[in-house]
Symmetry: C3
Subunit: 368 residues, 3 copies
Amino acid sequence: MSGSPGTSSETKKPSWSASEAGALLDAEVIGDGSARFGTLSSLEGAGPDALTFVRSAKFARGWDESGAAAVLVSRAVYEDPSVGMEPGEGRAILVVEDADLAMLALLEAASKAIERTPRAGVHPSAAIDESATIGDGVFIGAHVTVGAGSAIGDRTRLHPGVRVGAGVRIGADSDLRSNVVIEDRCVLGERVLVHPGTVIGADGFGYRPSPDGGGVLKIPHIGGVEIGDDVEIGANSCIDRGKFSDTMIGSGTKIDNLVQVGHNVRIGRSCIVCGMTGIAGSATLGNGVTLGGGCRIHDGITIGDGATLAAVSGVMGDVPPGVTWGGTPAGPARDFLRQMACLRHLPELVREHRSHERATGKRGEGEA
Amino acid sequence: MSGSPGTSSETKKPSWSASEAGALLDAEVIGDGSARFGTLSSLEGAGPDALTFVRSAKFARGWDESGAAAVLVSRAVYEDPSVGMEPGEGRAILVVEDADLAMLALLEAASKAIERTPRAGVHPSAAIDESATIGDGVFIGAHVTVGAGSAIGDRTRLHPGVRVGAGVRIGADSDLRSNVVIEDRCVLGERVLVHPGTVIGADGFGYRPSPDGGGVLKIPHIGGVEIGDDVEIGANSCIDRGKFSDTMIGSGTKIDNLVQVGHNVRIGRSCIVCGMTGIAGSATLGNGVTLGGGCRIHDGITIGDGATLAAVSGVMGDVPPGVTWGGTPAGPARDFLRQMACLRHLPELVREHRSHERATGKRGEGEA
Amino acid sequence: MSGSPGTSSETKKPSWSASEAGALLDAEVIGDGSARFGTLSSLEGAGPDALTFVRSAKFARGWDESGAAAVLVSRAVYEDPSVGMEPGEGRAILVVEDADLAMLALLEAASKAIERTPRAGVHPSAAIDESATIGDGVFIGAHVTVGAGSAIGDRTRLHPGVRVGAGVRIGADSDLRSNVVIEDRCVLGERVLVHPGTVIGADGFGYRPSPDGGGVLKIPHIGGVEIGDDVEIGANSCIDRGKFSDTMIGSGTKIDNLVQVGHNVRIGRSCIVCGMTGIAGSATLGNGVTLGGGCRIHDGITIGDGATLAAVSGVMGDVPPGVTWGGTPAGPARDFLRQMACLRHLPELVREHRSHERATGKRGEGEA
């Protein structure tokens, strides 16, 4: 596996010959082992610089029409008698046990080849409070701030512009991308990845009526945020701090971009929360819960272990474990889709109903 | 009321004995005045380090089963003949006039004890234009920028990474958290609190058709944003500048995270805007309006004083003062909930209707 | 056209006399040419410092009641025999061919007069990697970072706190506002304007089941983001990088605040994407597509050239070119509005249906 030459190699995508990729993937190479590719692409739209893949026999024909340099194919498909793939001039077929896994292996190899791995050290422009504790091998980029009494675990990376408040603890091997903000007294585990612009530990949204009746007064939020290990949080999301106990996110949970997690929410382990979802205060998600994009979870409700909510669900009551629900208010997903499909018949029903009423003289006077 | 000892006290939660808390809250202490707690918790889940609270007689029994160190209870509940609460070994009951208010008083005391209060002064890494005016007792953190001609009021705090453009005015005692951006010529009042990552004064989203028919041209936005006193804005929200007049947010209004306020919107005094709500351009909210989470307010509409919109409402027309509405398009909330509840009957109605039509031979030819 | 005097002129709004504006707009000035205005306003709410405008004969009467200093009016309206506008004491009428275009011309002139035009140069606090290439006339503000191998085009402006990763290319005359983050290897064209806090190139949200069944593993994202010329992106939006090929945004496309664009999305030329819209992974938008605010576009779907989706649409399947659709699931907008309007009749239909069933004895035993 060879990167491009020269000093800028870290910023270029790598390129492989079919033989190099074959060795990496333990593949049988059929055709021209010197065929080179620098990108991975689905069959449609694959250019002469691409490695493509064929997942099932019915798409194998696409390889002939494709201009790709090489193709990954699972052995079962390649050996299917109905298929008969040929490499063609200057191209190569890579036969592997499982084309999906091989593609992932290539992606991971490519990622390692091009990934920026910042060197350990603290940029001179960073402002680190003298009472903070910085672990071994930590990278702290330009214009980062770390507040009083905070502790940064070994090998953790704080990219440029990250703001770590006072009394924060971040575990080892975590990665906070540019301009992430961690407010005071929040706790992050190990191998936590937070994408740019995300804010962890802003005050929850809580007020009480002003005694003079003239508006509201802020309720202080002295709880924190506690995030487990192996959590990933997307860009420009917000995880609010708790009122007195902590907002909690369990290990292995993955949260997408522009997601709102309210004060005192408790999210279990290995949950998936897709983009633009909002989880209101004090809601509880069990383990292994999946929320599609754009969901709205009302405050205080509970979602059971392993439940899945379809995109754009409005969850207004508790959800049992293991179900697949959707809609607003959320219910069994199949029912919801059927109801939505029936909506287009509603105008006809209303028309019919009115004409029936007119015919039978039932219609009330005041109605339009 | 004692904080933890030593230099790191500002980053730890405080702890109290029941006697200390009793003195603070003017409570009658029954049982062991030396019982200590460091957190506040509801009855369920209260550990031995917690103060808990009992709001009504029917939950008073929970205190016996709870492991909490102490409990706050309103006198009316404590003296209810059906209740009979006992402190138990090493625990304490704090009897107060109003347990809710006492809890808030404790939260506020705890908040003061742990709150980071940055010292006045300008961090040497900040870049302050020499034509800017900085009031007395101002805190300006690391890597802050303040542009030409801007004025920062007395005791206002600009946390690390805050960007203040040119010609901005910020009143006294305001608090801009890390990485907040205030664009040119915006005006903020006194005691305004803005959470991290929020952007005030980006251009509104306005274009006109290109004369050559090939897309659109940007309409300049020379208006600003004018924010009153005692306003709080959550994290990663956006308040766009006006086209020629200003976008306005009235005093006492509270806005949550990830909220969008479009150009030339006018929001009155003491409004509550919950998370992920979007208010499109030139909409007008009166005073005391409440918008639940995830609402969509269309451009140009007017919402009357004191109106409440349920979460996830889609407001497509004007809303009268004082009403409680919901749904999309928004209407009286009760009607909306009834309509939603009826949706589950719709497939049955459609089935019935079709079989009736088939029986009576009414069904048109072209229909599925 | 005169700005205010002195060094702070760049931060004040300009003011004009009617004569100055008349010369700028090639207008006939009727009345007092010395009448001054410093703001532009619609008829209602126009104060004595305002220039207002009259678009049609039926609103011309409003000028008499208005306190505005001057009014823009199209010649056709002014000369309409039914109109008869008089300047009045100390006020002026500016007669132009097209009042709308004249207003835009004034806005543009005002914008130029007050616009902050930062001087070319690199602030000493910026951290620019020595292998980066910086074009002529570039402005780089305080606390900016530019990573290894990146190239910044001529006259491009990077405002304070902007983070440019490694291997990034940004074309000429682009403008990245404060705290924008561009992750590694992304490419932006010429005249691209990005508002504060927006994140371009965060990892897409992609995982695969862990082989041990205990959660999910991250799929590396080695693709980038490629943005054409003349694109504008609002504040706190997110454009994720592709898995292996790039996420693409065509020239002339305008994207509003708090918008999410998922990995491998392809957006064509001259599209309009309003605020808080989410476009899930691998969706494709043709050229000239308009998405209203708060839309949800499901992954992998295709929207044809010139299609328009109403605000808050949930797009779950492909959309043909040129149509205007709305609703969830999205369909022809007119149908959707009719269905929504019929919803209020649904409770009545259900009631009727039940009483009919009860009368005819059809109602099943198990039903409520």
